[in-house]
């Protein structure tokens, strides 16, 4: 028992470490390309992580888990929807597993923190969206934003809604009180000017608010023509539910400006969804060949249509792989250069990655929910009534210099 040599102990330690998920000694093979999916399994976005993972896996499996003739090793980490945990686990995956390409996480605030890690560790970071900082004031060479700019979203939503409801000029805004909410609010008000909109109220609620009745009563007292929410996930679901409970919808329209689409709508019943208008980065009836194929195989696999979350991870992964193809290299800097300015036709339609800001220039979707009687099946939530892809005007752009490597 006492005769264990030092070498044996070390070996045992390494074995135990590998078993426990810390293959510190067993370095990743150099031939493998390691890609990290940072998807939350716990915390505020615990419900989103698993479906993010689905989309990413599908994109990789399409290519037979390889690119440039080299095998892809797909690893995931639970970011716990927290900046500390996410940055820590990203670093661990970069150092320990040799991950050089990071996709995620879902929360825009956390993604900003991960973006800092990417910059420091010099790894490529793709993330969906929500904040305007990654392609704005905190832009750098290593991070790319897939989702539409908040300006594109605001412009699409306001223009398309006003086209359908020219008389609805009195708007009440309900805004999640963090960077994402503020930036969309700013652009809604900006775009609203050209339509002569009057903002009768703009209330900010804390992130993670569950008691919306107070805000809704306040909105009702303002007697607006329309209520527009700029919040996300459970906040949006709770808000929409309460706006219905208090009898605002369906009498007046509710706009969910930046919605995850299917993932939020499925949590509301058809009665609640009546007269809700939805802006989103993806809706599954999008009329593109890539979307059609993706939706079909996703539905065959999981039984329900994909929303924003799996579509974003699917499309981001495809974008990354397209970058590999174009660069003909798996070196981080080569792939970054390839992604800058890349143009592809993907699930949302035509996408172009702006080289100067790393902002994806792409269509944003605007839907109107169907009434219960018009729904053809349980997930027939809405019709796409417009898309828009107006990029952020130069004068608003905060990314003056993307910098070097």
């Amino acid at each position: 028992m006492n005769k264990l040599s030092r070498r044996d102990i070390l070996k045992m330690g390494a074995g135990a470490a590998a078993g426990l998920g810390f293959p510190a000694i067993i370095r990743a093979q150099s031939k493998e390309i390691v890609i990290l999916g940072l998807w939350d399994a716990t915390g505020a976005f615990a419900d989103v992580g698993p479906i993010n993972d689905r989309g990413m896996k599908m994109a990789l499996e399409e290519r037979g888990m390889q690119v440039l003739g080299r095998p892809i090793k797909y690893i995931t980490r639970d970011g716990a929807t927290q900046a500390g945990t996410s940055t820590r686990r990203t670093e661990e995956a970069v150092d320990g597993e040799g991950a050089k390409f990071v996709i995620g996480p879902w929360s825009s605030g956390v993604a900003l923190a991960v973006s800092e890690v990417a910059k420091r560790k010099k790894v490529l970071h793709l993330f969906s969206g929500g904040t305007e900082d990654i392609s704005g004031s905190r832009c750098h060479r290593y991070s790319f934003q897939w989702a539409a700019s908040p300006y594109t979203a605001a412009k699409t939503v306001v223009d398309s809604f006003m086209k359908a409801n020219p008389k609805a000029k009195r708007w009440h805004l309900l805004v999640a009180d963090y960077a994402f909410g503020w930036s969309v609010e700013k652009y809604i008000k900006e775009v609203g000017k050209s339509h002569g909109l009057e903002f009768v109220g703009a209330d900010r609620h804390p992130l993670g608010e569950r008691e919306f009745s107070n805000y809704v009563q306040k909105a009702a007292a303002n007697k607006p023509d329309v209520v527009a929410m700029i919040n996300f996930g459970l906040d949006a679901v709770s808000g929409a539910r309460e706006i219905f409970n208090f009898g605002l919808t369906p009498k007046i329209p509710l706009i969910m400006t930046w919605s995850s689409g299917v993932e939020e709508l499925v949590q509301l019943s058809p009665e609640i969804r009546e007269n809700i208008w939805v802006g989103s980065n993806f809706y599954y009836t999008a009329d593109t060949p890539v979307a059609k194929a993706f939706v079909k195989s996703y539905q065959a696999k999981f039984g329900n249509p994909p929303g924003y979350a799996p579509s974003a991870s699917y499309s981001m992964t495809r974008l990354l792989l397209a970058g590999f193809d174009k660069a003909k290299s798996a070196e981080v800097q080569d792939v970054i250069k390839a992604l800058e300015g890349i143009e592809v036709n993907d699930i949302v339609g035509h996408m172009r990655m702006d080289a100067a800001t790393h902002q994806n220039i792409r269509p944003y979707f605007f839907m109107r929910c169907k009434s219960k009687s018009a729904m053809k099946h349980a997930t027939d939530f809405a019709d796409i009534i417009a898309t828009g892809d107006t990029p952020l005007p130069k004068e608003y752009g905060a990314c003056k210099d993307i910098g070097g490597f």
Partner: protein
């Protein structure tokens, strides 16, 4: 030298072979945090559910100065210790008069107050996004960006903290605190100013938390909002209890087990908090006294068997 000390020294050397340096560093940082709590929990009998108040405040203040004024790392650590102690003095002053569940709730409520202040004060703390871009120091020409170098730095500070805490608990002050834990009324009757000593324990514990907070901020280059949230306060309590609050080394072993397991199990199964919850329940029902006591019971059992 005593056996536990040698064991710790050996693990300091072996740990980076087994886990990532960042996680290894975090284990010792968390152990410093735990040492501070355990002066309150284990030695004075005060269950503070708001230790992250001091951890987070120190991290924010020192992080801010490091980021915008590029202050010297030792100065940052010193400021962290100071902020930790000062915020603990404030919270402690408000709490030490209370006892039992009220004490726990008050530390928790004040923690929430600090948390929501940090959450709302986005211009300074970054709110939800955290305060990123905190540089790791360059000291005496040594670049601490190398994870192993930083690990060595953390380890040395941990050893110093451990030694300091050992001296404190073995000092007359430590004995008085233990007397308060055993019987507060008697301690009062003997003539000790109990609230003042409790406050002192708070301040010392806060200083350790502050040190840990700054080291944490430099380790990950960010002060995340959760550093000041009740989750961190809870984690340090749980880690200490798992290790065993009755011993100086309890929080050290606890943070080792807590961080290592939660990091490794979380990559294996997404629903790992379920296992964590079960571990808590098992510790409470069967292993009270934590790992330290289980270990000594095991040795007792073994030696009694050998005698037979």
């Amino acid at each position: 030298m005593k056996r536990p000390f040698i064991l710790i020294l050996v693990s300091i050397f072996l740990l980076p072979l087994v886990v990532r340096p960042a996680i290894a560093s975090e284990i010792w940082i968390f152990a410093i945090f735990g040492l501070g709590l355990n002066l309150l929990l284990g030695y004075t009998g005060l269950l503070s559910f708001g230790q992250s108040t001091f951890f987070g405040s120190a991290a924010y203040v020192a992080g801010w100065l490091l980021k915008f004024y590029g202050i010297n790392a030792f100065l940052a650590l010193g400021i962290g210790v100071g902020v930790g102690a000062a915020s603990a003095a404030l919270v402690g002053y408000l709490c030490v008069q209370r006892s039992g569940l009220y004490f726990i709730m008050l530390t928790f409520a004040l923690n929430q107050l600090f948390y929501f202040t940090a959450y709302q004060w986005t211009s300074v703390t970054g709110g939800e996004d955290g305060m990123p871009g905190i540089p790791r120091p360059v000291l005496l020409g040594i670049d601490f960006k190398d994870p192993l170098v930083y690990y060595a730095f953390v380890s040395v500070l941990f050893l110093i903290s451990l030694y300091a805490m050992k001296r404190i608990v073995e000092s007359p002050l430590g004995k008085i605190l233990q007397a308060i834990r055993e019987n507060e009324i008697r301690a009062e009757a003997v003539g000790y100013n109990v609230p003042r000593f409790k406050l002192l324990a708070f301040i010392i514990g806060g200083a350790f938390s502050g040190l840990a907070g700054v080291l944490y901020a430099m380790l990950f280059g960010i002060v995340p909002l959760e550093a000041i949230s009740f989750v961190f306060s809870g984690n340090v309590v749980f880690a200490t209890l798992i290790g065993g609050s009755g011993s100086l080394y309890g929080p050290v072993i606890g943070s080792f087990v807590f961080i290592w397991l939660s990091e490794s199990v979380s990559t294996l199964w997404a629903r790992w908090p379920l296992l964590l919850g079960m571990a808590f329940v098992i510790v409470v029902l069967f292993l009270r006294g934590g790992i330290v006591e289980a270990w000594s019971r095991f040795w007792l059992w073994r030696s009694s068997k050998q005698k037979n």
